[in-house]
């Protein structure tokens, strides 16, 4: 029964046959081709596009780094990056705190846990555009719930989405409502997978709940926290649907995030080269951001 193995694994020291040398390449080739087709090619094409200009009715013209030079001086793009960063940090931070709190609260066995946990998932499974429409109604200045509540309390109407001060927090609240369940789900799975022995030992040694949380739960949960924060922050960095439906980047440019600016440049103004340059710049920033988050969290451990 051991005979077939000699056709696959060459005896040590003897040179592999031609077929043996090609086999590993053949096995990884489909995956490599898939990755090239789905990731490397579009990325390369976007980079190439960012070096071109698309004059109306004429073939694209190579302009080198001109789009990037223009980008450096574009105040609106810098402002949109700042808005995106503020949105990402705020939304992800609040979602993490709430998600962790919920996960700690609901980690044990309790009545109706299936129903409660399932209902917490609802916001996450609604299409982002639908979420936008629901919240647009809630924020409506004339008939919306928020305006109604404020009017009842203060006698004044509240126009959330037409306030430069409130529009971005309003968008952050929508994101928190929609994506806290995701954070909760990941952290709950992480907490439930932790070994119980260290916790039992700590309790026997008389450690308080806070000490257990601080010195056991958080350090042991760190790999899951890194993943959860990375996934959510990368997603928040590319937020589009809610902004598009709720504010279109307004009032003024108070909620103009980078993705919306890229979208408008490409598909409303037909500045495909410039939009591609913005997209590539955003990609580089996101990579730096995620590397920094990972390093900071790992380093703190």
């Amino acid at each position: 029964m051991s005979t077939p193995a000699k056709f696959i694994i060459q005896p040590r020291g003897s040179p592999p046959s031609r077929r043996g040398r090609l086999l590993p390449w053949a096995l990884v080739a489909p995956t490599v081709l898939f990755v090239v087709a789905m990731t490397v090619f579009p990325l390369g094409y976007s980079m190439w596009t960012s070096l071109q200009e698309y004059p109306l009715g004429q073939p694209p013209a190579f302009v080198g780094l001109r789009n990037y030079q223009k980008l450096i001086h574009d105040v609106n793009f810098r402002s949109s990056l700042a808005t995106t960063l503020l949105f990402t940090i705020s939304a992800t931070g609040v979602e993490f705190v709430l998600g962790l709190g919920l996960a700690l609260l609901l980690k044990g066995e309790f009545s109706f846990q299936g129903i409660i946990r399932s209902s917490l998932m609802i916001p996450m499974v609604i299409a982002p555009v639908v979420v936008g429409i629901i919240w647009r109604l809630l924020y409506n200045a004339d008939v919306g719930l928020f305006s109604f509540a404020v009017q009842e309390l203060t006698g004044k109407s509240l126009s959330v989405l037409s306030s430069s001060m409130l529009a971005l927090p309003a968008l952050i609240l929508v994101d928190v409502w929609e994506w806290t369940p995701f954070m909760f789900l990941l952290l709950l799975a992480g907490i439930q997978s932790l070994p119980q022995e260290p916790f039992e030992a700590a309790r026997v040694d008389g450690a308080s709940t806070w000490d257990i949380f601080r010195h056991l739960t958080m350090p042991m949960l760190r790999p899951v926290i890194v993943v959860a924060l990375l996934i959510r922050s990368l997603d928040a960095f590319t937020v589009f649907d809610q902004v598009f439906v709720l504010t279109q980047g307004g009032p003024g440019t108070a909620t103009e995030v980078a993705t919306l600016m890229i979208y408008k440049s490409a598909f409303r103004f037909s500045q495909f080269g410039y939009a591609a340059a913005m997209a590539i710049s955003l990609l580089i920033l996101v990579m730096f951001f995620s590397a920094a988050v990972t390093r900071a969290l790992r380093g703190s451990g």
Binding site: P4, N140, A141, S157, S159, S163, S164, T247, Q248, R268
Partner: protein, 440 residues
């Protein structure tokens, strides 16, 4: 050993065979589909809009029955369709025969060579077509400024036809304006001051305030009404002229009597406010007219009348027609042209108007039966006659975005009109300069 090796080899062979067979089948179906189907048909690409319902539900089936050409209607939301249409034009994919376009898009599609020349295809215009409507189908424009790179002696070519006439009308409550339509903007402001009652959700005016296209369209009428314009000679930005500033200040004075949160209103909220009976007047697109008399959508049935927008210095209306052009890469150009000829014929246009559609032929506007059915037709024809389109340039969307952002800021602050218009003018001039415009 031997049997296992055989099985693996056989498996690889079989897999390769299946993959090859699948590839051959899919390739053969790709290439053969069009040739093997001799049925005459046209594919429309369009954005979704209720104003197109009568065309889709009544007139396309009638066209199929009478002319014998099958039609397919593919639609998406406004922005997605623009993207799809431009992609189709750029790649010459030929997925669509007729592009349905906002009139703003004609410079982009025609200027980029994505539309077929209707003159060459043999379409004949005539004097019954409303001049301001048919003018929007030409590129370069017959009158006015021309984009850089287009000579002043370049011939204007017909690239598209109107599909639905859409123009901004004054919608006003006849139980508030009992003595007929307000003749001036000052009258609207006076009535708004006197009768607005926010505690009862009664507002003298409602408008679109969202940044970009919506607020620019709302402001446009005021700007032109006070004698201002967007561009002057050689694309010089003049919307921040004293007349422009006065127009914005007047616009803001009216907004003081609009519902709270108007800075976030798009046409859906503007229309809903009026149809719920919460506003006395608004300038809205013709497409909203039928809904005012529909008891399932309006709480003020019979209480809303229509007229051309009132006067300040000039009397103008903003044009915003639905246009249709044949794709340069259309696989069924002959059939598409047959549709355009059929739909723009006087007989079809009259039937279209009688069914509640907004035509683009004078004879259809003047048809008694149609006027009885759609009481806004008279005002619509008058508005078309004094209608002004958006500047005819493929870069208008960018200018609209810049101006719309500052107008929205002015609306939020309810003031600093000059500063905001100056800021928009500065940014617009810089953009136009970078895009090769002479800018004055």
């Amino acid at each position: 050993m031997k049997p296992r090796q055989m099985i693996r080899r056989q498996f690889l062979k079989d897999s390769l065979g299946v993959a090859a067979a699948a590839a051959v089948q899919s390739l053969s179906s790709c290439g053969g589909k069009r040739d093997s189907n001799p049925r005459r048909q046209i594919t429309f690409g369009s954005y979704a809009d209720p104003a197109l319902d009568i065309l889709k539900e009544v007139f396309l089936p009638e066209f199929e029955r009478t002319i014998g050409i099958h039609t397919e209607w593919v639609e998406a939301d406004f922005s997605s369709w623009l993207q799809k249409g431009l992609n189709d034009g750029q790649t010459k994919a030929g997925a669509f025969d007729i592009y349905v376009m906002d009139d703003l898009w004609v410079p982009r599609f025609a200027g980029a060579g994505y539309l077929a020349n209707l003159d060459e295809l043999g379409f004949q215009t005539d004097l019954d077509l409303v001049p301001s409507a048919i003018a929007l189908g030409y590129w370069p424009p017959k009158t006015g400024l021309r984009q850089p790179g287009i000579g002043s002696n370049a011939r204007s070519i017909l690239y598209s036809l109107p599909l639905i006439s859409d123009v901004q009308l004054l919608f006003y409550r006849n139980d508030v304006y009992r003595h007929g339509p307000p003749a001036t903007w000052d009258e609207i402001l006076r009535v708004a001051r006197q009768k607005s009652d926010p505690a009862r959700h009664q507002y003298g005016w409602v408008t679109r305030g969202v940044k970009g296209n919506p607020i620019v369209n709302s402001f446009f009428v005021f700007l032109h009404s006070l004698g201002g314009d967007i561009f002057g000679e050689n694309w010089k930005v003049i919307f921040n002229s004293p007349r422009g500033v006065e127009a914005l200040e007047f616009f803001l004075s009216l907004v003081a009597y609009a519902p709270p949160g108007v800075a976030e209103f798009d046409s859906d909220q503007e229309g809903a406010t009026l149809l719920q009976g919460n506003a006395f007047a608004a300038t809205m697109w013709t497409g909203w007219c039928p809904q005012t008399d529909d008891p399932t959508k309006s709480r003020v049935v019979g209480k809303i009348n229509f007229d051309v927008p009132p006067k300040k210095v000039n009397q103008v209306a903003k044009l915003g027609l639905f246009m249709a052009g044949i794709a340069a890469s259309a696989p069924h150009k002959t059939e598409a042209l047959e549709f355009l000829k059929w739909f723009s014929s006087s007989a079809t246009q009259i039937r279209f108007a009688r069914s509640g559609g907004t035509p683009f032929r004078t004879s259809a506007f003047k048809d008694d039966e149609a006027r009885k059915k759609s009481r806004w037709l008279d005002a619509t024809l008058r508005a078309l006659t004094i209608g002004v389109p958006s500047p005819r340039t493929s870069d208008w969307s960018k200018v609209e975005d810049i101006l719309g952002t500052e107008l929205n800021r002015a609306l939020l602050e309810r003031g600093r009109a000059k500063e905001h218009l100056d800021s928009a003018a500065l940014e617009t001039s810089a953009f136009l300069k970078s895009a090769g415009y002479p800018v004055g």
